[in-house]
Every structure is written in structure tokens, then in C-alpha cells.
């Protein structure tokens, strides 16, 4: 089947995305019939011929299964426009294999060989948290399914509600709920932990009257009770 370029087709502006990458241009093709997309791609290229002149192109074709004929035509037609197709990215193994057979790359960044040998994973994934650099004043509420980090004070009347833990780098005087979905391992830490009310996994605690200077504290559940302890680097 040859692409029918004679027909006027509806333009699908979102189905073709072009962006610049270090290796040249990356074109991402959206859903849709291959021939339609191919036709509108060529149309786009013809429109901006100067822009594409001599470009090095990588193309993400998504889940499409493309055979040697499709990719070959694509490459040749692009070559006619003086565009070099060097990579095809696809989630389909068939398409990847076909591309490799045609001598096209199937990844954008070429990993350095030594990295492959020493492949010890050194980056730690971490968990979702939100970070706010402001004072949470009376009547305002911060809610998140993950952890919440406040760089500022939580004033009386302010509320923090987290699925995970809460860290307040400042004075914490509002209402704080950690582990609202029942996470008993959630903790609440603050430089000055003096909340109106503190709840971890539904267990409620009220701060005792403060004596002396404020110190960084960590509150957690120990034996079914919320306990606040002075932060001690040695006991970690």
C-alpha cells in the first residue's frame, strides 16, 4: 500500500510533536492510521522545508508495528527532503527489530560502554512528597497523600493532613495529621513541635505545656501511643 498523498485529509495538529534534543530533532507520532500520519508528517515537513533541511531525526512511533517496507519508505522519503533518519523509538519489539535490521538506532542516548559494565544502581527512588516554602496561617490547609514538608511555620488554626510523614522546618503550632490512611510508621518532626493537636494513624495526642527552650522533636507511634522525643542524632 502506498500512502495516498493526493487526498486532502483532516489535520491532526496534536498527533505530531516535534522537539529539539541534543542529538537533533525528536518527532513523536500520536495515535492514528500510519498512512494518515505519514502523509501529514510529510505535509508538515514540506511546509517548513527550510527548518528541516539537513536535520538529524529520531522518531517515536509509539506502539505501532511497522514493517521493513514502511520504515524503508519513511527513510527514503525523508532522505529525498535531505533529512537523515537515524533512530526509531518504539514500544513494539517487532518495530524495534525491523529498525535494527535497517541499521537504525532504537535508543536516543547511547550509553557509555563502561557504564554498562558497572551497573550498580546508586540512585535511590524515594517517595512522593510536597514541599512548601511558606507560613501556613490560620484557616489554611495543606493536604497530600504523600509526605508534606513545610519550610516555615504552621500557625495555630492551620492544618496539615498527610498520608505519610510531616516535617516542619519551623514552629509547628497548628493541627497536624500524619498517616491518615493508617500508616503507623508515619512521623511528625518539627524544630519546635507544639501542635494544637497531633494525630498519627488516627491516634490523637495533645501537646503538653512546654517547659524551657524549644528543641527539635520527632513524634511517632510507640506501643500504640503517640510519643514525642527530642531529636537525638545518636539514637537514630
Amino acid at each position: 500500500m502506498k500512502p495516498d498523498l493526493g487526498m486532502i485529509r483532516l489535520k491532526q495538529p496534536d498527533s505530531i510533536q516535534i522537539k529539539g534534543i541534543r542529538e537533533g530533532l525528536l518527532i513523536t507520532l500520536g495515535e492514528g492510521d500510519w498512512h494518515d500520519i505519514f502523509a501529514s508528517l510529510m505535509e508538515k515537513i514540506t511546509e517548513k522545508e527550510k527548518f528541516f533541511q539537513g536535520a538529524k531525526l529520531a522518531m517515536d512511533v509509539g506502539n505501532r508495528i511497522l514493517h521493513a517496507a514502511d520504515l524503508g519508505t519513511l527513510r527514503d522519503r525523508l532522505a529525498d527532503k535531505n533529512i537523515i533518519l537515524w533512530a526509531i523509538l518504539s514500544n513494539s519489539p517487532v518495530t524495534e527489530l525491523t529498525a535494527q535490521d535497517l541499521g537504525l538506532a532504537t535508543r536516543i542516548s547511547v550509553p557509555k560502554p563502561e557504564r554498562i559494565i558497572k551497573s550498580i544502581e546508586s540512585s535511590i527512588p524515594g517517595e512522593d512528597a510536597i514541599f512548601l516554602r511558606k507560613t501556613i496561617r490560620s484557616g489554611f490547609k495543606v493536604v497530600s497523600n504523600g509526605h508534606i514538608i513545610i519550610f516555615g511555620d504552621v500557625n495555630p488554626g492551620g492544618e496539615i493532613i498527610a498520608g505519610g510523614s510531616v516535617i516542619v522546618w519551623g514552629r509547628c503550632q497548628g493541627v497536624v495529621q500524619a498517616g491518615v490512611d493508617g500508616d503507623q510508621n508515619a512521623t511528625v518532626c518539627a524544630l519546635d513541635l507544639n501542635p494544637t493537636q497531633l494525630r498519627i494513624a488516627g491516634i490523637i495526642a495533645i501537646s503538653p505545656k512546654r517547659k524551657g527552650k524549644p528543641q527539635p522533636e520527632v513524634a511517632k507511634i510507640i506501643a500504640g501511643q503517640v510519643v514525642a522525643e527530642t531529636w537525638n542524632p545518636k539514637s537514630r
Binding site: 507560613t135 496561617r137 490560620s138 484557616g139 489554611f140 511555620d153 500557625n155 495555630p156 488554626g157 503550632q173
Partner: protein
Amino acid sequence: MNAKVVTISSGKGGVGKTTTSANLAVALAQENQKVVCIDGDIGLRNLDVILGLENRIVYDLVDVVEGRCRIRQAMIRDKRLPELFLIPAAQTRDKSAVSPSDMIRLCEELKDEMDWIIIDSPAGIERGFRNALAPADLVLVVTNPEVSSVRDADRIIGLVEAEEKGPAQLILNRVNPALTKRGDMLSTDDVLELLAIKLIGVIPEDESVIVASNRGQPVSFANNSKAGQAFHNTAKRMLGEEVPFMDIEANNGFINKLAKMMKFRGD
């Protein structure tokens, strides 16, 4: 001229918004500034009483907004200070008679001929407050050194921030050094620590404020009271002058006497 619109707010009622509005207006006018006060408390107007202009009201804010008169006709000129004007609130209507965009339009119209537009916001965080906040260039939050008014001030500061009218500045009103000394009242530092905004005025508790308000002659007219002096200092700070905060504790006036009396009674 391009007037600065200053909204005086507090959240809680009775902390001294109207008194502060009246006194700052008088103090600014005495610094040769052209000042217009707008009473935002439609239905519960007070500013006219405190300024002693009640008997001269013909038209009010709602008349202007609803097109029954021109702005000029609603502006009452204070005979004591020819640079001071008041636009009173309507007493027979409620807050919904005016919208935030009405207030913005009104202030735009006044801006060219004034130095300062002072809006006395009503208590609460509803329509009246929204109206007063909408045209503001600067919000002055009035609070007393006690827990509930500080809590409400905190809420107001947050709302002002959320409306991108912040940061608000703080006026601490009715400071009683004797009570603070005994630890029975929040200190200026306690309040500032919590609210974390710029302090622009500290007004001592002074019974001459009440006397003056009842007479319709705000304390700022005369320069012989502590509170009047404090309002003048605040006005100067609004004009960009560096004025040190007066030492309220070092005074042998009636406050100390009062303090002694109270202490005596307390024992």
C-alpha cells in the same frame, strides 16, 4: 498625584480598625497629605461618628456606586483639616450593595486627586472584607495583644497573601505594658514571632482614645496623648520616614498609675 490605597483590616471586631483608620487619616492629613477615608462597613457605619462628621452626611458610598450622586458630592470635607475627606457608608443597606469591582472603580477615580485612600474594612472575612481588599495597594492589619485577635489577624494575613495583596503590615493596638510585664498579655515580640510580618505601629492602651472618639475628635488632632503620638509615628512610617518605636514601658503617665492600681487590686 497617584494615591496609595490602604485597607485597614483585622478579622476580629472591636480591635480598633475604625479608630485606627480615623487617626491615621487625621495624622496623614496633618502631614499635609490629601486623604480620603472610605467607610467600608455598610450597614454598621462608625467612621463618621469617630471623625465627628455624622451630622454632615448627605450622600454615601452606595449613592455613588448606584449613580445617585457624583463622588465629589459624597465626599465630606473635614473643616478642621481641609485636606481630609470622608466617604461615609450607607446605614440602611448591607454589604451586598457594593461589589469589589465597584470599589476598584471608585478608588481609580479618586486616585488622581488624592495622596492616600484609607478604607476602613468591616470585621469578618466575607463580602465587606472582600470589597475593602479589592482595591488595596497595602493592607494594614490591626490586632490587640491577645490570642483570639492575633489568631484572626493571622487568618487575614493569609487571605491577603492568597489574594496577592501581601505582605500585609501590622499595627499592634491597645498595648498595655503592665499586663505584658506580668506575662498576662502577649508581648510585641510574641505577636511578631507568630505573624511574621512588618510592624508599622504600636499603639498603647490609652483612655483618651475613647474620650476622643466619643467627642468625634480623634486623639491624633492633639499631640498630647501617647496614643496620638503613636498614630503620628505610624503615619510618618507610612510616608517612608524612619521613626523609632516609642518605649511604651518608660512612662510615668496614667498607664503606670493604672498598672499600679491594677496590681494592687490583683494582690
